[in-house]
Structure formats: structure tokens, C-alpha cells
Amino acid sequence: MRVKTIVPSGVVPTLCRMCETRCAINVHINNNYMTEISPLEGHPVNQGRICPRGGAALDLFYHPDRILKPLKRMSDGSFKEIPYSLALDEIIGKMSTLKSDYGARSVGVWKGEGLGFYQQEDYARRFIHGFGSPNYFSNDSACYNGRYIGYHLVCGFWNSYPAFDQAGLIILLGSNPPICHPPFMREFADARSKGAKLVMIDPRLNPVACYADVFAQPYPGTDCALVWGLIRYLIKTNNYDEDIVNNNTIGFDKILAYAKKFTPEYVEQQTGIFADVVEEIALLIIKNRPKTSIFPGAGLEHNENGVNCVRALAILSCLIGALGWPSGLWRPEMLGIRSLTLYDELPMDDQGPIGADKFPVLYDIRKECHTMTAMDYMLGNGAYPLKGIILTAANPAVSNPNTAKVEKALSNLDLLVVSDFFMTKTARLAHYILPAATFLEREELHFYPTRHRVNLTSKVARTEGIKTEYQLWHNLAHGLGFGDKYFPWKNEKDVNKWLLEPSGLTVEKLRRHPQGYAYKPVEYQKHLIDKLNTPSGKLEFASPYLKKLGLPEIPEYLPPYYLAKADDNYPFILTTGARKSLLYHSRHQNIPRFRNVHPEAEMEIHPADASDLGIEDGEAVKVISETGTLIIRAAVKKSVELRQGVVEIYHGWEDWRVNFLTCDTINDPISGFPLLKGVPVRIEKIE
């Protein structure tokens, strides 16, 4: 590979995008070769520290398996290198044919996480509307959206990361911060050194629990009952913020009535968390009101009632009085820049965005189509045919539920274009694979909304033959005839200039602030001055909007599917998705030193269950669900680490795809999220 670095030798500051945290780093260059990544001092996010995942960005960049030239799939299934211009012409030709034969909406775009997106997401959204189709899909429809929607329904905003270091009590649910949000560790430790308490709620014990004052292990998917139990306790003991309730909310009476049944005893029966532990958590909240930070992890979203659990948590925070405290709920403000999306200019709501009929909230709030419904459309079972997908660095053949169906659906497309670094399971199904640029090869704006901070990353290197994400959309749009109108900018720098223009900030100025530029001080009490961004302008404990759509007005608790429809054939509950420290979803498995740490997939199982089944640690077992089968090694854990009857498998393995077991038809009715954390399975010893 031929690489040209921004300077022949020296140190270039930028942001790491090996995960979503986006730490500030220095890239060391020697003779046009990037030699090392080290932390950049002075950025508030990572404060001069990095993690080994970030340190391995160069392993990814210079990886011998990296795709450097466009590939076309031949009739025998093999891939052949073709020139970039030919690949582009053929893709444009096919897209035009699909548009004239089936309409523009027969083509969609799919944004993944692999490239390290920030600004790139909006390019994809802009492109597909420019093309004339409403069908924007993304990996967010199985991560993040559920929490975004939950908080927006109640508050009209979401500060995804509260200032934990200023909390008196931190409550974590379904999250493993040392792995998924490393900087939280520092904030937790800062808070604890000032006497803060920590409550951790998770079906799986991870080391954070070693320092938790309370660790409670619910049955998967029952957290919502616990949250209601806490709401009831606060109301019953009159320990809630009456000012907020009286002045800023609608629907409190409905909450009051519904909460009544969630006595500690009922919560214990539903969640398996002892009644006195529920009370203990409630008392900790009462003692530490209003300085309580509540953080829901992705673990809560992957249940059929996930959004309601998140809504209940948002309501709990409001009752605690956490509104307007740095450690609680407050409304981040964005820098006033232009937007690349075309939702106002070129709305497509009447074009039948896929899944918007089934999951209207997902489309309303996120302007995203539903990836699981898309599979039906690809298989010819939708309201209209979906024939083409341009997919950038997503890996649905690994990470979407019901893998067998996903592979069948993707294989049924007339045109699948995958832009990626590596030959992923999804890329193998593509007609064309385009080489993608890493985060080190582009300049883009990154925001940290909860810190009111903006960064501009540096284009540290350029690899011959590899186009940036902007160039990809730009070139496709120009070939399809809407480039002049919607992608007029020559390069990323021009885009960034245009975006920043109304803010008064310039590309040059941001370049001088590698530690990030704080665009305005945070006003924690902003919600008191302005109307909230909800339909009523108030905190919506009950949502008339949801009621109108025929959805539960208040965040009702529903017992999870496996409890409601218990089936003796599938006596175990499979949860998927607990993170691996060096992997990032399905990424980084091909970095050899990472692979030494995480060599192979395993199914975590309780020792009593393993002994009942006659399974030894390390032995291969067969896991069977209604959807499919997976053969995998068992890892017998300590009895404290898991509940009996619960097993856990990581979600990102390319060679052991747990989503062969998960099903795509049980969805959260609000977010459309698939059920990934409570899948009934049977485990068989392999004789």
C-alpha cells in the first residue's frame, strides 16, 4: 500500500475513532510511516490517557488484509479487482436501472459503525434523499436509538453522559463502562473518592461490581419492574421533587396510579432482586437526591419493552429532582451549524419509508428505517421491492438478528455495494466492494454535546486508490445527476467550511484547538427558561403522542417474552452482547495481538447449570433456539457471575454468529429493536 502522510515526520494531533469515545491522540510519523499512537494531553475526555484499542489504530491501518482496490464478485463467487472508475460506472448504471424499473425507493443506504462515523452518517442520509429514496438504515437500529427515543419521549432531550464525577450516587444498568466507556472509570473514581455511592444492576457480574455498594442481578429484561418499584417508593414516602412535578410535567397522576402495584415484594417476584435490596437502593436515592446519575447501557434496549424501561428511568430521574444538575438530566445545546440532512428541504415521509408504518416512532424521532423489516422487503415480502443497498462498513450478516434470513435477504438483492476495510461476512455477499478510508484519512467535525465541545480531526494520511467517505457519496451523486445540487463541494474541507459558516467558527480556528473548542458554557438550568422539545413542551410522564399511535401512554412494565411464554423446550435464557475489551462489535478480530486475548467465542454458563448438563469448561456444546443452532465452547463461570438459567454469548464473532439464534420478529413496538437479551434456548452436550 502506498501511503502519503500529512508531514514526512512529526507528531499530528487528532481524535481516535477505534470506538465511539473519541479520545484525543497524537499520531507519530517517521519518514512517511505512522509509527505510534500516544495520548494527547489536555482533552477533557481522556485527559492524557488512551487504551490499547486506540493504540492499535495503526494495526488496522496497515493491516495486510486491508482492501485497497475495488472488487467485483464474479459469477463463480470469487472477487476480482477492477479499476475504481469502472466499479463506479457499473454501480451508477445499476442504480439508475433500479430507479427507472422500480422507483428510487427500491434503493437504500445503510450506515455501519466500522468506519468510525460521525459526520459520515449525514452524508449517507443526504445522499439517499438526494437520490429520491427515504430508505436510510443504520446499525443504530440495534444500539443507541432505543435510549435516544426513550429520553426524548419524556424530556425532549438526552444528555447521554451526565457528569458522574459530581454525583452523590451513580446507578448503572446494563452497562460495563471499563470496556464500553473507558473514561467513565475516571469519573466514577473521582466521585467515589468524594464519597459517592455506586449501584450496579446487571444480570452479569463484571468487575465494576467489586466496588459497587449494591450489586443487584435481575432476570434479563425485568429492569423496568425495578425502576417502577423505585418510583413507587419515592412517591409513597413523599421523597420526590414536587416543584418539578407540579410545574414541568404532564401525566403524574397516571404514574401515581400505575406505580402502586410495584411493591418491593412484587418487584422481587418479577426481577429476582430481593425486596430489601430494592428498598436499600430506594433509600440510597433518597439520601442522595438530587445528585443522582442514572446511566442505562445498551443492555436495556435489546428487549421487547426496552424503550419503556428507559422512559421509566427518565421519569425516575425527574422525580429524584436530577433535572438541571450536572450529574443528572440537562439539555445539551448544539453549536449552530448547518445540517447536511435534507429532511426539511426534501422530505420523503410520503414515500413509504420502510418500517415507518410498523414503527412510526423510530421514523418520527430518528428518521431511520427499520433494518429488520428491510429484510422482508429484500425477500419480496414488502409493500414494494427493495433491490439495492449501498452499505458503508456495517456488518448485518453478523450483527442483525436472524442471520440465516439476513444472508438470504442480502443475497437476494440486485445490487449490494459494501464499502469497508476488510472482507467481512457482509462484504462476501456484495456485488461490489469499495475500499474505505479509516478515521486517519479524513477531516471531519466531531461534537461532544455534553461538553459543548467541537473538534476537527486531521487527515493524517492518504492511501493511494482509497477514496474518503465524502468522495464516495460525491462521486455517486455526480454520476447519478444530483451531484451539482446536493454534493457541490469539492472535498471535505469545503463541506466543513460550509457547515461551520453560520457559527462564526472556521476550519483554521478549530485546527488550532486539538484539545477541542468549547463553543459555549453549559447552562444546566436551560430547561427552566425554554420550552422542552416534547409535543406538550413539558416533561411527558404520560405521552399523548404515543397514545395516539395506540402505544402505551405511560411506560408500562411487561414481563419479558421468555417469562410470559415459558417453553420447556427452551429452558435457558440467552443474553448476547456483553462487550469484549479489545473488540468493537464485529471489528478488530483480525488484529493478531487482540485475538491472542480473545481467541475464540465462548458461552458463559453458571457452574450449577454446567454440572447439570454434564458440561466441562471449554467443552463444545450445541445451543438451539426456535430460530437456529450454534456450536460453541462453554466457559463455566463463577456462580456469582451469572444467574442460574442465564447464558451469555458475545454478539460480534464473525465465526460464531450468535444471531443465528436470535429472532427478528419480536421487536420493541416503539423503537423496533430486536430481542437480543432474553432469547429462550436449549443447550445440548455434544456426545
Partner: protein, 162 residues
């Protein structure tokens, strides 16, 4: 002198230090290759992270018969010279703490050498549990923390921040 100082109650066992340490080695990260150790006992819910403290009177250095273990005059670290080490393992026997071990791949003694004064584990500690500083700085931090535990102090301090 500066050593690797560990605030035990900040460590949440992400094990990034172990990984960063072992990633230096081309043979890759086998746990035993790291020279910093995160001990996790899930049953007792205990995390304890420790590495060589570069003892003033270092048993490993004192006992080494081949002169392979010496003190780096710049950093003060007790360092193994792989070429001189004969692999007798006496140092492993002598260390009362277990923070020098025998490397099966190279057949030499292995221990923390403070990365020539720029320890990777410290840079990779996102929790800021690890520091490269004088051990008395840790004592100062601990003394300061006692203040927070005094009745009244904590409340006042937290109230002030609002």
C-alpha cells in the same frame, strides 16, 4: 525516585495496563508476558493491581549470580539484562512479592523496567489509578482523602459545587 504508583480504589479491572504492557512484545499478549498484574477475585469481589516497586534493597538484584540484574541509573528501575541472564530463576525465588517472573519464551527473568521512564501501563490507565510519580505522592493523596471522610467536610464540599 519515580515508581508506578497504584491507587487501588480507583482500579476497575479493565486490564488495559496488562495489555499495554504485553503488547510491547512481538510474541503478543499472553497474560504471563505482562509485568503488571490485575488480580480479580469475583467471588470475594476484590481487585488488586500491582507491579514491581523497584525496591531500594532489591532481593532479585542482590541474589542474581550472573550480574544480569542491575539498577538503571537514569530511572532507578531494577532491570534485567537478557544477554547476561542465565535463566537460573533465583530472582523469582528471592522476590517476596512475586513481581519478577520467569519468561518461558525467552528463558530469562522478566520484570517491569518502567519502560525507560515512560511507562505504557500508566498512559493506558483511563481510570487514572496508575501514576508514574514518587510513592510519597500516593501517601499525600491518601492523607487528603481522609479529609473527605471527616463529618461535615464532605457535605460542605459537595454543596459548594452546585
Amino acid at each position: 525516585m519515580k515508581v508506578i504508583v497504584i491507587e487501588q480504589d480507583r482500579c476497575l479491572a479493565c486490564r488495559n495496563c496488562e495489555r499495554a504492557c504485553s503488547f510491547k512484545d512481538p510474541f503478543g499478549p499472553i497474560h504471563e508476558k505482562a509485568n503488571i498484574w490485575v488480580h480479580i477475585d469475583m467471588n470475594e469481589r476484590i481487585i488488586f493491581t500491582m507491579t514491581c516497586q523497584q525496591c531500594e534493597t532489591a532481593s532479585c538484584l542482590e541474589i542474581c549470580p550472573s550480574g544480569a540484574i542491575f539498577r538503571d541509573l537514569v530511572t532507578g528501575a531494577v532491570v534485567v539484562n537478557n544477554t547476561l541472564c542465565v535463566g537460573c530463576r533465583m530472582c523469582v525465588n528471592a522476590c517476596p512479592f512475586g513481581y519478577i517472573h520467569f519468561d518461558e519464551i525467552y528463558s530469562v527473568a522478566a520484570k517491569c523496567d518502567l519502560c525507560k521512564g515512560d511507562p505504557k501501563c500508566v498512559k493506558n490507565c483511563m481510570a487514572k489509578a496508575l501514576h508514574y510519580c514518587d510513592i510519597n505522592d500516593l501517601a499525600a493523596v491518601k492523607r487528603e482523602r481522609q479529609l473527605f471522610k471527616q463529618p461535615g467536610f464532605q457535605k460542605e464540599h459537595i454543596e459548594d459545587e452546585g
